[in-house]
């Protein structure tokens, strides 16, 4: 639509390709393609369909949480408590089923409701009391993790019935079940962000919150909504994780917030708010997972691969800053 309106001015194919390439998503896509090419050439196990699908399974949890995190960071906020909500959801699921004897279906619902409330509490304090998001979610990072530890008393729950593993360990039409959920959720989240009043308002809030308020955007209601959404998605990711690894422990999801924020920021969402996209975030999530996988196949110890992620993160931001400055100057 935009292209037809402005085509009379400058938008030739070349110019459009150039803007696309110079956007953060463009830069990332190039990095992604190059790294996949290199990894495929040097590692035979990497380029199998099985491996790629399995990687999809592994990145789902981070991907699901990264969707609301993109919304939140676009508004200029942050949610550090996602890893703890993730763990709380897992523990509540296991505890209500194993210790309180709830039917498993009900336990799942209770876990999801608990995490949604956890997100709502974050949002309520941020919006109504005016606690800065960084502090509020830092406090609940400790508090929700503490609840998970206190409830579970460091005991795990396992031995779930067979149907429970459908979500985490089985396939639908040859594709891991949870990957379907992620793909659908990402598309819906992307459309909402790009094409609805609500989505566009998030950018307005991030660019100028007071201005957004004065132009009649229900800033408080939208912010409350996205933090609640973040709680729900973290809880859902926690449930999927339990289904994938077949057990419940209170330390699950420790450090998840850093993986998620790294993916979102790598995907071009400015930590100061106002810019970003779901497509960028998804490329960030995939890039991080493929780099981890490729490097560990290349013989690097699993946990050590985060070195490269740190380097890529800083490097990508540097390149982006440089490009922004140059395009701003010209």
């Amino acid at each position: 639509m935009l292209a037809t309106e402005t085509s009379s001015q400058t938008t030739t194919f070349g110019a459009r390709a150039r803007t696309l390439l110079l956007s953060q998503e463009g830069v990332l896509l190039v990095i992604l393609v190059v790294s996949v090419a290199i990894l495929s050439i040097f590692s035979a196990p990497f380029r199998t369909v099985e491996n790629i699908l399995n990687q999809g399974r592994l990145l789902t949890e981070v991907g699901l949480v990264a969707l609301p995190m993109t919304y939140i960071i676009i508004t200029g906020g942050i949610d550090l408590s996602v890893g703890s909500v993730f763990g709380l959801s897992a523990v509540v699921l296991g505890y209500t089923w194993d210790k309180l004897g709830f039917p498993l279906e009900l336990a799942i619902v209770v876990a999801l409701v608990t995490s949604t409330i956890a997100g709502f509490v974050n949002g309520w304090f941020i919006v109504r009391v005016g606690v800065p998001p960084l502090i509020m979610t830092l406090a609940t990072l400790a508090f929700y993790r503490g609840l998970a530890e206190g409830i579970s008393q460091a005991r795990s729950a396992r031995g779930y019935p067979e149907w429970f593993y459908q979500l985490g360990q089985r396939e639908v039409l040859g594709v891991p079940t949870q990957l379907w959920i992620l793909v659908i959720a990402a598309i819906v989240a992307g459309i909402i962000l790009a094409r609805t009043v609500f989505g566009r308002s998030l950018y307005a809030i991030g660019n100028n919150e007071l201005g957004a308020r004065f132009s009649g955007i229900p800033v408080n209601r939208y912010k409350l909504l996205i933090y609640t959404f973040s709680g729900f998605m973290s809880g859902l990711a926690g449930y999927i994780f339990v289904s994938r690894v077949s057990t419940t422990r209170s330390d699950m999801g420790t450090g998840l917030e850093l993986d998620v924020i790294a993916a979102v920021v790598l995907g071009g969402t400015s930590i100061f708010g106002g810019t970003g996209s779901i497509a960028g975030t998804m490329i960030g999530v995939v890039l991080i997972q493929l780099l981890k996988n490729g490097l560990s196949l290349a013989g690097m110890k699993g946990d050590a691969t985060i070195v490269v992620i740190g380097l890529v993160l800083i490097f990508a931001i540097l390149v982006n800053n440089y490009i922004q400055r140059r395009s701003g100057a010209s």
Partner: protein, 342 residues
């Protein structure tokens, strides 16, 4: 408080009363006083619980060993929190502190085991910490990458680098003279001495020197600071280097407290340090706070930990208590500010 015991003429009483309430007001409005009062209240209530409910003649909470443990148990957290408080006051954040402590403690321990002079094993973490701080400072101050992103990247690099180097192995057979944290000059544990000296030194430096005041100025309003002749870039650079050195000291204390060192990053450590700063009254928005507050907060967190054992509360609830504590502090701070605005 002492004024009440002095003989007062009836005519002067209202003035004295209002003075006392004024004092009380200003005391409660400073976070340091609130923390000190909380510490005292906690100590009194645990001691009363022990004597009245459990019927012990001498409260074990007040035993010398327990007091020493409360004071030194979180000393390395307090030392790291001094640096992090400066970073937060300058309007930035550092979430790589925990990883840096893990890396520097490992380097220090490996040097001691491999026959380097002990003083060099103590000094090297400070130097490397300062260098890492310089890198972070350069990226933040001169290349303008947000501190949370830089330190998130640094966290990954340090954590992964440590695993590549050591694979998370334990370090054994550390020479006894390396154990700085276990020395007790004049009967006082070394970590306590270091914590107190560094806290007072840093507090005086921040309050009375131009470089120290500049940190508040930059954190409060970087543009105004620049217009009044302060270089925000140089100030930030300085703050991150100092932070690195303090983290180095914390790492040495951490490495020398036990007879073995595990060469991994202690999980959640950076959060503990930031918690100490925030509960100590350092505003995450920058511009306000003191390192005396953060040190008191670190001690208070340890005292709460200890009190929970006496009250027979499962230590698994500790984190939940910490979270509530951050929340209460922040809410109190918000209320205080609102009242000041009125």
């Amino acid at each position: 408080m002492t004024a009440t015991s002095e003989p007062v003429s009836p005519a002067a009483q209202p003035a004295v009363l209002s003075q006392i309430t004024g004092w009380l007001h200003s005391m409660v409005s400073s976070q340091e006083a609130v923390l000190a009062i909380s510490l005292i209240a906690l100590t009194v209530s645990v001691s009363l619980y022990e004597t009245l409910v459990l019927g012990r003649e001498a409260p074990r909470f007040l035993a010398e060993r327990n007091i020493a443990d409360i004071l030194q148990g979180n000393a390395y957290i307090a030392v790291a929190a001094i640096g992090v408080s400066m970073v937060i006051i300058s309007g930035n954040i550092d979430i790589s502190v925990g990883s840096l402590i893990g890396v520097l403690a490992t380097i220090s321990g490996l040097m001691a085991v491999n026959g380097f002079p002990i003083w060099l094993a103590w000094l090297t973490p400070l130097v490397i910490g300062g260098l890492v701080g310089a890198v972070i400072g350069f990226l933040v101050a001169y290349l303008r990458i947000p501190a949370i992103v830089v330190t998130l990247g640094m966290l990954s690099i340090l954590q992964g680098g440590l695993i590549i180097m050591t694979g998370g192995a334990w370090i054994y057979d550390i020479p006894p003279e390396f154990q700085l944290a276990q020395q007790r000059p004049l009967g006082i544990p070394m970590p306590v001495i270091i914590m107190i000296v560094l806290t007072i030194g840093a507090a005086l430096w921040m309050r009375y020197t131009a470089y120290g005041r500049a940190i508040y100025a930059v954190g409060g309003n970087a543009e105004a600071a620049r217009l009044s002749g302060i270089s925000p870039r140089a100030t930030l650079m300085r703050v991150f280097i100092i932070n690195g050195v303090f983290v180095g000291v914390a790492a040495v204390l951490f490495a020398t407290q036990f007879t073995t060192i595990q060469s991994t990053v202690p999980p959640g450590l950076e959060l503990f340090v930031i918690t100490a700063s925030v509960v100590g009254g350092v505003s995450i928005l920058g511009g306000t706070g003191t390192v005396v507050g953060s040190t008191l907060a670190a001690v208070l967190l340890r005292a709460i930990n200890s009190a929970m054992i006496f009250f027979n509360i499962s230590p698994y609830w500790l984190r939940a208590v910490q979270g509530i504590l951050i929340l209460i502090t922040v809410l109190a701070d918000l209320l205080r500010r609102r009242r000041q605005l009125k």
